[in-house]
Every structure is written in structure tokens, then in C-alpha cells.
Amino acid sequence: MMKNDSGLLSLDFIVGFTVFLAAFIVVIGMLPGVYVNIQSSSADSGRDMTAYRTGVILAEDAGISSDSSDGIPWEHQPPMRPENIVRLGLAVSKETPNILSPEKIERFFNVPAYFNLTADEYRAKLMFGERPRNFNISFREDGRETLYIGDRVPNAGYGFSKRYVKVKDAGRLVVPVGDLTRGVTVKLPEGADEYIYRNTTSFILSRANLSDRSVTPAYRIDPKTERAVIVIDGINTVLGVQDGISSVVIESVGLFADGDEVAMPQNGGNEPYNMSNKPYICAVDGMPVENGSEIHVKNAGVLEFVLYPNAMYFPYSYSKLEIRFNMRYTCLTDGEYRFIQGETDYDYDSPYLIPPHLTDGVLEVCIW
């Protein structure tokens, strides 16, 4: 009988203790719920906090894509694959807060149209709030039009964050044509009216040279993520004045990564990992020329070639990219001519390089 009594007492203790433990677990489980009130305690501060956080992400973060580990930033994702973007951010890199990339600005504000992100996608990849908020994000670089996304800002009752930033405009290689031309003797074949002479002129970008760590990050040229601009100045002053030349044409432009030609999508192509629908833009005296067509340059004042960045041009840290212009000259008479030819380096030591420069801008985030 005594043994039965002690058994009953133990059972009581176990039941009581179990009930207490269950209650204790429930109470502890309720604690995190208490902090939910912080978010909803003030609607105004919630908006301000979201605006602040969004401003910080935009100005100080470079963003991230699902391919970031392969070196492909979010702005280089193909236009049909916005789902590859994990987080939006406009900074050139983590090392350079408040210094924004013009490529990222174009993609973010969709000028020209590229990703066409919806408001929900901007919310999911930038604001990360549990509440769906309305937003207006605007940006103005000095001397340019204001870019914006989102709805019209209400007169009152919105969270606000203003960030002062700089935009890193790409470096430019500006070469006077006189420094590119070489003398060539041309003799027309017997009885021929004209002679076609072909040659090439190349510009070399070496990733190893451009990644020079001694250069301040804000002014370092990263050919994987930044556009490269090549300007040949005053072509008409050398080629235009040679009367024996009837035409000078850039027949084609070839890109060679470590010696292998890169297959380039032409106008309207939507190849993966292509910065733009066009891999490059070539303009004669400010007038863009259709990619793939011949470029007549005999009387061109300025030839500007803008190469959009692409990770596939620089697969290795030592990779070199050659931009090759295939030239064709039509000569009508025998003689000694000066033609554009040879190789020119695109790096910090070049006397023709105008390094990247920073332009002031202001970024405003409104949330309501």
C-alpha cells in the first residue's frame, strides 16, 4: 500500500511539472511577438525607416545577383531574367559608398528600357518591408534630367531620405588621328581605276593593368563592369585632305578576348550576359551608326566608340581584350598615303587616357 502512495505522488509531480513546462514554453514563445509593436507603433517612423534603409542600400550597396559569384553583376543580367537580381544597389562597389555606377543607374531607372521591373519587383528587391509601400525614387545628376521610378509623391505623409552622391563617368581614350596614322605607298595595278587597301587598327584593354590596386578605387577602371570609350579625333584633317583617297570605311569591328573572337549579338539581340541590346555604339560626329553596317569616316571629325561592359570579355584576371577596327581604303591614284593603323593601349600610362571623373548627383527616396 505504501508503495502505491509514493507512486501516485510522483505522477502528480510529473503532470504538474509538464503543465508548468508547457506554459513556460508558451510564454517564452510569445516574447518575439511583443516586438512587432515597434514596427506598428508609429506609421510615420516606419515610412522614414524604410526610406532611410532604401537610401542606404541604393547609395552604399552594389547590389547582388544570383550569378554574383561568377562575377556577373545584377545590371548585366539578361533583360528577360530579372529574377536573377537578388538585391538592387547603385554603388560602384562596397569600397566606394556614395559613388554610383552609370550602368546601374540606367538599368535601375530603366533608361533605356531594359528590365522593365514592376513596382512589386522593386519592393521585393530593394525595400524588403513586410508592408507593401508606395514609393518614388528620383535621381538627378548635375546637368542632366531627373530620372525617377514609382508614383507621384503626395503632398504630405511620406517618409523621406536624401542622399548626396557622385556618379563615376567612364574613362575615355581620346587619340588624335595624327598619332594613329602611318605612311603607306600605294601603286595601282596596271589598267586599274582604283586600289583597295585593307588594314586594321586595334585598342588593347588589359584587365591586369587596369586593375592596378595603387589607383584609388573611385578612379580605378574596371573593364568588366564599366563601359570603355574610345575617341579618334580629327580624322577629316588627315584622311579627308588626301585627295587620292576616295573613301575610308570601317568594314567591321571585331572583339578578341585573349586572341579568340567574341561572337557579338547585333542590333536587337538578347544574348545572355549582354550589357545592352547592343554590345557597342559607334557614332560619327555624334550620329550613331547602325551596328554591323560599314562606317564611313573619311570626312568624320570625331569617331566615338563606346563598348559596353561584359564579363565574357575578361574571363581571367590576366585577360586582354582587343577591339579591332577592320579598315578599307579606296585609292584612285598611286602615291604615298597616311592610313590609320597599329595598336594602342587603353591603360593608365597612356597619354591619351582621360581618367574617370566624378559628377555630383542627388538621390531622393520617398515612401508612403
Binding site: 500500500m1 502505491n4 508548468f20 506554459a23 508558451v26 525607416m49 528620383s138 509623391v153 536624401k162 531622393e364
Partner: protein, 187 residues
């Protein structure tokens, strides 16, 4: 003393009574905790400093981008303006540095994208703090736009700026760093 016979039934009831007490105690505990935690909102710092945060962000951003080097290996704007603000450059150079800083700083403060109504209400006061030969910290008023009478709550932003050949009048000069402090407030 009443002698109670210990039957099997009595023992079971005793056990059940204890379990019921435990359940009731648990229910009371949960209800009390629910009521207590539900009515208390822990104050968050963010709630209290939201308005100040905007001014702080603006001030820090401005000092940061004004200190970005002008070209690879170059110096930032703040460095050049602080160089001329050194008392040993003379009052004329100091006044010119203050005016140049004021023009640049106000130009930045008034910038806007146009998305919102940009009321020109921001005012500032800048001062430079340096150390004299005796090791004392000296405050030198530098530039300002508007006077803070102390009634407008202001936010302090500061940045250490490289100062070459810096020195007070009659004292030694050296390559050092000075603290540029900006008070920002709304009027």
C-alpha cells in the same frame, strides 16, 4: 484526529486535484503574461531619432563627398579649403576659404531632384577644432548660414580632414588632421 481510510479511489482523486491546480496556474500565468506583454511597448531608439537621422545623413553625406579626392592621387575639396583656413595663412585667406566653403555647402544643401517641394529651411554652422602647442583643443569658427540661437535642435556631423602646414598664429605648424564640425538645423 480523524482517521481516514486510504482507498484506491481517494488516492486517484488526490492526484487529479493537483493536476487541475497546475492547469489553472498555467492558464493564469499565460493570461497574465499575455496581458502584460501586450500592453508594454519597448521604446525603440529609431522611433525617437527619425527626424534627427535625416539631418545627420545629409551632413555626413556632404562631408563625405566633399572629401572625395579630385582625381587619382589628388586631394579632396575639404582638404584644400581647410588648408586655406589655417590661421597662419592670414585673415584674408581664411575669410576666402570660409566664403568658398559656404557657397559650396549651401549649393549642395539646396540640391533636389524636384520630386518633392524642397523648402530652403536648412541652416548650418561650421567650426574647425585643432590642438595648439600646449595641447589644448581650440575651436575656430569657420563658416555659417543662419545663426543658431540654441533654440533650434541641431545635429552635429564631423569629419577629420588632413591639414597640411597647419598652425595657429605665432605657433608652430605641422602636417596634421583637424576636426571639421558642422551643426545642421532646420529653421
Amino acid at each position: 484526529m480523524v482517521k481516514v481510510s486510504k482507498s484506491t479511489l481517494y488516492d486517484r482523486e488526490c492526484g487529479q486535484l493537483f493536476a487541475m491546480e497546475g492547469l489553472i496556474a498555467a492558464a493564469i500565468m499565460i493570461t497574465a503574461a499575455y496581458l502584460a506583454l501586450g500592453t508594454v511597448i519597448p521604446p525603440a531608439n529609431a522611433d525617437m531619432h527619425v527626424s534627427e537621422m535625416q539631418l545627420k545623413q545629409i551632413g555626413d553625406d556632404l562631408l563625405h563627398i566633399m572629401d572625395v579626392p579630385d582625381g587619382n592621387g589628388g586631394t579632396g575639396y575639404l582638404e584644400s579649403v581647410v588648408y586655406n583656413a589655417s590661421p597662419n595663412r592670414g585673415p584674408a585667406a581664411n575669410a576666402q576659404a570660409g566664403a568658398a566653403f559656404n557657397a559650396t555647402f549651401m549649393n549642395y544643401l539646396r540640391k533636389s531632384t524636384g520630386a518633392t517641394i524642397n523648402a530652403d529651411t536648412l541652416r548650418y554652422s561650421a567650426a574647425i577644432y585643432c590642438v595648439d602647442d600646449s595641447g589644448e583643443v581650440v575651436r575656430l569658427p569657420f563658416a555659417n548660414y543662419g545663426d543658431n540661437t540654441g533654440r533650434n535642435p541641431s545635429v552635429c556631423c564631423a569629419r577629420y580632414v588632413a591639414a597640411n602646414d597647419w598652425g595657429l598664429i605665432g605657433q608652430s605648424s605641422s602636417d596634421t588632421a583637424v576636426r571639421l564640425e558642422v551643426l545642421l538645423w532646420r529653421e
